[in-house]
């Protein structure tokens, strides 16, 4: 139990710190590496929440798919110019202040509502077997959203190909 709690705080700290590094690094490749660290620690958090399937999907899709795509694109665009320019825009202090207010607000609400959110904790093993459960729910209760999601992916795929394709000159 102590181990579980300790690992949560460690993972959460890693996630937050590397998320901060994501938005402060000048070089997008470094940002991407730190984002991968964040995503990995979030995946481990999912494991802790007994959502093995989501954890595996997070690793396969996010890290093995989306982040590889990001890195691929970073390599395609030349970075030398962008690296020499200032990384933040002029409105950074407005944005920072607004985000800070938002953060305070969020944490405040969560802290005040921590009692109401304290529903009875589900006993361990209640969501098992995880994969079968997700599969059944996905294909029985959420069939239509699932199909719509696949359509979305198709549209995104076609759109991305169209965007990235060179004009036939």
């Amino acid at each position: 139990m102590m181990f579980a709690q300790g690992s949560f705080y460690v993972l959460a700290a890693v996630a937050v710190v590397s998320a901060l590094l994501v938005i402060t690094r000048r070089n997008p490749v470094h940002s991407a590496i730190y984002l991968i660290v964040t995503l990995l620690s979030v995946a481990l958090l999912y494991l802790q929440l007994q959502a093995e399937f989501i954890a595996a999907v997070q690793i396969i899709l996010y890290i093995g798919g989306i982040m590889v795509l990001f890195l691929f694109v970073i390599m395609l665009v030349k970075l030398d110019v962008a690296l020499r320019q200032p990384p933040f825009n002029q409105q950074w202090w407005v944005a920072g202040a607004a985000a800070l207010v938002l953060a305070v607000e969020l944490v405040g609400v969560i802290y005040l509502g921590r009692g109401t959110a304290a529903l009875p904790q589900a006993p361990p093993g209640s969501l098992q077997p995880n994969t079968e459960l997700i599969g059944r729910t996905l294909y029985q209760n959420y069939m239509l959203p699932f199909e719509i999601a696949s359509l979305l992916l198709l549209v995104a795929m076609v759109g991305a190909v169209l965007m990235a394709r060179r004009k036939a000159s």
């Binding site: 949560f8 995104a156 965007m163």
Partner: protein
């Protein structure tokens, strides 16, 4: 057991960091990465509540969000490449013309 609201705080922190990234960075690639941070923050919430309520629906929605994230990244990066081809830059504040 880690109380659920700890997960919510983590999620809020990631969300805020993501929003700061989106609002302050100039590099479109990093803006897109910050968007991924925001979507992840939402996912943490969903999965945490799914655990608390012992209802798998939260995880289903997390899957949908990952799907949306994949679609968003693909289209976003596609636009970025097209833009880079035309303008030779990836800076958001130089994307100031509606038509080129």
């Amino acid at each position: 057991m880690v109380p659920t609201w700890h997960y919510l705080v983590l999620s809020a922190a990631l969300l805020t960091i993501g929003i700061i990234g989106v609002l302050t960075r100039r590099n479109v690639i990093i803006i897109l990465m910050s968007l991924e941070l925001i979507l992840n923050a939402v996912n943490i919430n969903l999965v945490a509540f799914s655990r608390q309520l012992a209802d798998v629906s939260g995880q289903i929605f997390a899957i949908f969000i990952i799907t949306v994230a994949a679609a968003e990244a693909a289209v976003g990066l596609g636009i970025l490449i097209a833009f880079f081809r035309n303008r030779d830059t990836v800076n958001a504040d130089e994307i100031d013309l509606l038509k080129w």
